[in-house]
């Protein structure tokens, strides 16, 4: 079976936190193997004595067999216990390390990588390590130690038989090496074909509703099939090219050929009185194990190869760059926000998202960010809480560079309400209290009332103690948004960043949401990203972005009079608002 290249370096590296325990488990496994071999030796001795003197009980050696077997068994059991406990420990440690790392990387990294994909790394990939760490490590130890010790024992027993047994193995591995000859190239082809299949599968499954609506699936299914065909061709080729040698090697490395060689050679030597029967017996009991101890190693490769990708992904997240924070600078002096000549690009060599953006927001004023999609307005909003760090220039909150204040200080000054609102699987009250654990119930209720959320919360089966369910699924978008607003009201931070906070509310909720927002914004410095323009008319200042640049700034009337980008956007907005399906425009009764 074709497999991916297995470099075990990463596998051992990732076990570092529990290295001691794993080494202990491996040492126990080696000891167990030694006792097993000793047991075999004593068994040979027992049988030999019996044949020499059939009437006498070979007590000492028989008890030795018993002791060795028991020791080998107990040691093996302990080895597996230790490796399993180490594996469980490792899971916890790695997950904790990953969670802590994710707390320190830029939120932009989380956004780019995707929450789902990262959660998969923290859960699934860490879980996948188990097979390797828990089950394989003792076997590996045995697979390496047992053949060496066995070979030494065979040499001591009879060098001719030792050479015979080794010759078979060498021959087998030589053929195996022949089978692996083209491995590099085939592995590459194989992996490419596999990836193609995965991509086609994901597309085919995810797009099924669209596929069904538009064709009977011909084109998508065609792509899926082509990927499968290509994969089959690659796999078949691999089998064809490496199949004979691989099968041959397997046949040779199987313990039976070794046994046959030892029997023929031993029988001849014994018959010609050049070998003691007892030694022959000992070789037969011990010798064939050489091949056998190696077989699990080859089988384990399959499991380990699966783990390799997981390890790579875990290490990647653990190595994700964290955001530097000097944390030395003073606390913000007021609720102002200032961008000074900010450039920003996503990642190295990414397109320029912002260029030369500079503006300042006075404490207590309301500034709206508008522009066509892709203009950079959401990016501006997200740079304030350091989703990413600027490429050039700086951002000051209360006169202090955001990179120079501890994350906590920054978060204590700025509150955010985003489009997507996230509720935790905890009670509604706990969700409102998040970030202000000291707030009492009266304060929570007051915040909920201000956010127009009290009425619907009170109507829930358990009121404020109702669990918010799997990500608040049973609450409507608008209701979840109001809980998020209640949270921000309770947090009561001087600066507020709103990113299109009313986007997904349905009509009835929207009115309540608007009232909640009005309450939240009272007396705060507000930076508001608006995709639709109706909300921003009366902002103190409107900043208009286009392709990463701040192209216009001013009040609504001034900008309309200027007849620039904003005026164009405003006209589109009016037009979009008055559109009605079927070419029968709304006759709005205003």
């Amino acid at each position: 079976m074709p497999r991916t290249e297995a470099g075990q370096g990463g596998a051992w590296r990732i076990m570092r936190p529990v290295r001691g325990q794993i080494r202990f488990a491996m040492a126990l496994a080696v000891a167990s193997a030694m006792f097993g071999l000793a047991g075999m030796g004593l068994l040979a001795l027992t049988l030999h004595r019996l044949m020499a003197a059939p009437a006498l009980w070979p007590w000492e050696s028989a008890l030795g067999v018993l002791a060795c077997t028991a020791a080998a068994y107990l040691l093996r059991l302990t080895a597996f216990d230790q490796s399993h406990y180490a594996a469980f420990r490792l899971e916890t440690l790695l997950r904790t390390a990953l969670a802590e790392r994710l707390a320190r990387v830029s939120l932009g990294y989380v956004q780019d990588a995707g929450a789902g994909a990262l959660a998969k790394v923290v859960y699934d990939d860490v879980k996948a390590l188990h097979v390797f760490v828990a089950d394989s490590t003792p076997l590996y130890a045995r697979a390496y130690a047992a053949p060496v010790v066995t070979f030494a024992a065979l040499l001591w027993l009879d060098w001719r038989l030792a050479l015979g047994a080794t010759a078979v193995l060498v021959f087998g591995f030589a053929v195996l090496a022949l089978a692996m000859r083209n491995r590099g190239e085939m592995t590459r082809l194989y992996n490419a074909a596999r990836e193609q299949v995965s991509a086609a599968v994901v597309e085919f499954v995810q797009a099924m509703p669209v596929v069904r609506t538009f064709d009977s699936g011909e084109s998508t299914f065609g792509r899926y099939r082509r990927a499968l065909d290509n994969y089959l061709a690659v796999v078949s080729r691999w089998y064809r090219e490496a199949g004979f040698a691989a099968r041959f090697a397997m046949a040779v490395l199987n313990p039976m050929p070794t046994l046959a060689v030892l029997l023929w050679l031993g029988a001849w030597l014994t018959w010609t009185d050049r070998l003691d029967f007892g030694r022959w017996l000992a070789v037969l009991l011990l010798g064939t194990g050489m091949a056998e101890a190696m077989m699990p190693m080859m089988m384990l490769k399959h499991l380990v190869d699966r783990v390799k990708l997981s390890i790579a992904r875990i290490e990647q997240v653990l190595a994700a760059p964290t955001q530097p924070a000097t944390g030395q600078a003073g606390r913000p002096v007021d609720a102002s926000v200032r961008f000074e000549d900010v450039d920003f690009r996503y990642g190295e060599g990414g397109a320029e998202a912002l260029a030369g953006v500079g503006f300042s927001v006075a404490p207590g004023s309301v500034v709206a960010l508008v522009g066509p999609s892709g203009a950079g307005k959401s990016t501006v909003a997200r740079l304030i809480p350091r989703f990413w760090d600027v490429t050039a220039g700086r951002i000051l909150v209360g006169g202090v560079d955001v990179r120079e204040m501890p994350a906590e200080t920054l978060m204590r000054h700025v509150a955010f309400v985003f489009q997507e609102n996230f509720l935790f699987a905890d009670s509604v009250a706990a969700n409102i209290r998040l970030g202000t654990p000291e707030a009492d119930m009266a304060a929570v209720v007051a915040a909920a009332k201000a956010a127009q959320a009290h009425d619907f919360i009170a109507a829930l089966p358990q009121g404020y103690d109702t669990p918010a369910g799997e990500r608040g699924a049973f609450l409507s978008g608008g209701q979840r948004q109001r809980i998020a607003i209640a949270r921000a009201i309770l947090q009561n931070r001087p600066i507020l960043v709103l990113d299109e906070a009313t986007a997904f509310a349905d009509p009835e909720n929207e009115a309540a949401l608007v009232a909640a927002l009005s309450e939240l914004m009272r007396g705060k410095t507000v930076i508001l990203v608006a995709h639709r323009l109706n909300t921003v008319r009366d902002a103190d200042r409107i900043l208009v972005f286009d392709r990463g640049r701040l192209v216009e700034r001013g009040r609504h009337d001034e900008l309309l009079a200027g007849d620039g980008t904003y005026a164009r956007l405003w006209r589109s907005h009016e037009r979009a608002q008055s559109w009605a399906l079927g070419g029968r425009p709304a006759t709005e009764a205003r």
Binding site: M51, L139, R471, L533, T587
Partner: protein
């Protein structure tokens, strides 16, 4: 669908599933398994030759006999190797690869056939993708595992039977020790399963906790609740480790206990053998030979127990494959004679409940959508609007009532007939990793380049497509993020236009767009809905004031219906929604941080 706790499948059933999964290669597969079994038996017999060999060498000092047994043993071994060689040809000649290839194709076809309802949610999607992706990986090791099992079981059995010719007591002992492991293994699995349940729950909790933590990072960080302060997360990890440790003691260790039975058996055999030899009733050479043989058997057994993990992977994969293949396609009842002549749509007392839901999503839903009319569905989220459109597209069948097109029950239409009549534009656009041309043309594979371009022009996307590096031949994957939401949406509308279906479903196609994109998409939609039966889901009520009828849904029922003017006059639910929306429209932030209170219209 994904079972978190696996139930135990009898091996017989697993075997049947294997034969079904290998499809047209089933016979070859069976032959290859028989070959492996024969190899195991021959191997057992070859090992049995060691007994007379030892007797000949050590006791009888009979050179000819020794030579004869050596030759016999070698011949049997060679035969076993040949059998195994041929049997493994199923893998190495690529039969297994072909079988999994066929299986994946079959699974793909099944996905195209089964009711969309079952594929709709994300988890089902991920699960199926995983299943299809891992079919070969899971099944490829089937023969390797079967070889292990058969060698571990049949070789000792055959050898023990042959041993009866030399010493019945040892033969009997051997028979008792080795096959004993199979019932033991099956017996401990249910216990293992029980332990697994608690473990599965702990895993589920951790998985959910982690997802929540990562998704909630922006919020948690704003609340300073990340890293060391994420107490819930840490508590979850600690709990999982505790359950794992417990589960290991109760569940995983019995694996080793089972192997220890074999070791204990061997020790007993040794004691008995020595006793018989001392008593003079057993030739010590026979005993020695039996131990040389038995040592050969112990290892494959231990290995087999180690690889039960892979065996369980295979069993689970087979289960999941069977479950997926067993989902019936929605039946086509006595096909209608022709295609519907008219394209009016009627919902006749429809009630529908999703499989996992406790309450119906739609009930007593009756409505007529005349041909070439515009019907709007409005109402709060969760009121059943999307479900109505899904039933029209037959993602699932209603539990009660009928959906008719041109007077014909859609259950009497073939899937391709039905799909040919309906175009849909969704809020989320899916573009395939292919050229833009292919993405539009998929709606009508026979369309010429000119027709595709005409559709693109009508959907207001010709201009931006022409500006792309390779025009219509540009691959979507190559430019990925560079298409805006509005541009993607217009491509999907061009697709719908090219299809030229008489019925059009619009599910909030502009909800996720900014104003400028929205205007362009609106123009494209205007072209799409002309002279067609249109059913539209709208949040912004002003977009549907011109509708021929507006159905107001609440909790799965139609609570009001009529034109905009009628519903405003009726002064009910719709009017309240309309007024609420008009108010928020005039809401805007005021200077100096005070938001204007909503003004009455």
């Amino acid at each position: 669908m994904p079972a978190s706790v696996k139930k135990i499948t009898p091996w017989r059933e697993t075997w049947r599933q294997l034969l079904r999964s290998t499809g047209r290669h089933g016979r070859a597969f069976r032959a290859s398994v028989i070959g492996l079994a024969a190899a195991a038996v021959l191997q057992g017999l070859a090992l049995a030759c060691v007994v007379p060999l030892f007797v000949a060498v050590a006791t009888a000092r009979d050179g000819d006999a020794a030579l004869a047994w050596l030759v016999a043993m070698s011949a049997l071994m060679a035969l076993a190797t040949v059998c195994r060689w041929l049997a493994q040809g199923f893998d190495y000649r690529g039969r297994m690869a072909e079988a999994t290839h066929d299986l994946r194709t079959r699974l793909g076809e099944q996905l195209r056939r089964m009711p969309l309802e079952k594929l709709q949610d994300r988890r089902a999607g991920e699960f199926n993708a995983m299943l299809l992706g891992s079919v070969d990986e899971n099944l490829a090791y089937t023969l390797t595992i079967l070889n292990l099992i058969l060698t571990a079981l049949l070789a000792p059995l055959a050898c023990a039977l042959a041993l009866f010719a030399f010493d019945w007591r040892l033969a009997l002992a051997l028979l008792l020790v080795f096959p004993a492991i199979v019932p033991l293994y099956r017996w401990r699995r249910p216990a293992y399963g029980r332990g697994m349940r608690a473990l599965a729950q702990a895993h589920q909790r951790t998985s959910a906790d982690i997802l929540e933590y990562v998704q909630g990072l922006p919020v948690l960080r704003a609340a300073c609740q990340t890293g060391e302060k994420a107490e819930r997360l840490r508590a979850g990890f600690a709990h999982l480790e505790h359950i794992q440790t417990l589960g290991h003691r109760k569940g995983a260790r019995p694996n080793l206990v089972v192997t220890s039975v074999v070791e204990l058996g061997l020790l007993l055999m040794l004691a008995a053998g020595v006793a018989w030899a001392v008593a003079g009733t057993l030739d010590p050479a026979i005993l020695a030979a039996v131990f040389v043989i038995v040592v050969r058997f112990a290892e494959p057994l231990a290995t087999f127990v180690m690889y039960t993990a892979i065996l369980e992977l295979i069993e689970t994969a087979l289960e999941n494959i069977e479950t997926l293949l067993a989902v019936p396609a929605l039946p086509v009842a006595e096909p209608a004679a022709g295609r519907p002549a008219a394209h009016d749509v009627e919902f006749d007392d429809v009630r529908f409940r999703y499989a996992q839901a406790d309450a119906p999503s739609i009930k007593e839903f009756s409505a007529t959508l005349p041909a070439r009319s515009l019907t709007a569905l409005v109402g709060p989220s969760g009121s059943g609007k999307t479900t109505v459109t899904r039933l029209l597209m037959r993602h699932a069948d209603p539990q009660r009532g009928r959906v008719l097109i041109g007077g014909i029950d859609i259950r009497r239409l073939r899937p391709d007939q039905l799909s040919a009549m309906i175009s849909a534009v969704f809020q989320d656009v899916y573009l395939f990793d292919d050229s833009i041309l292919a993405n539009i043309r998929m709606a009508r594979p026979g369309a010429t380049d000119e027709e595709v371009e005409a559709a693109a022009r009508a959907a207001h996307c010709h201009e931006f497509i022409a500006r792309l590096p390779d025009g219509y031949r540009t691959r979507v994957g190559d430019i990925g993020g560079r298409l805006s939401g509005g541009e993607c949406q217009r491509i999907s509308i061009a697709r719908a236009l090219l299809k030229d279906a008489p019925i059009v479903v619009l599910d909030e196609p502009t909800a996720a767009l900014d104003s400028e994109s929205e205007v362009a998409v609106q123009q494209a939609i205007d072209a799409l809905v002309r002279d067609r039966t249109v059913i539209v889901i709208a949040h912004r009520l002003s977009t549907v004031v011109g509708a021929d009828q507006i159905l107001v849904l609440d909790d799965g029922r139609i609570v009001e219906r009529g034109t905009h003017a009628e519903l405003i006059a009726a002064d009910g639910r719709y009017r309240a929604m309309w007024e609420a929306q008009q108010r928020t429209k005039s809401w805007h932030v005021e200077r100096h941080g005070h938001a204007g209170s909503p003004t009455a219209p």
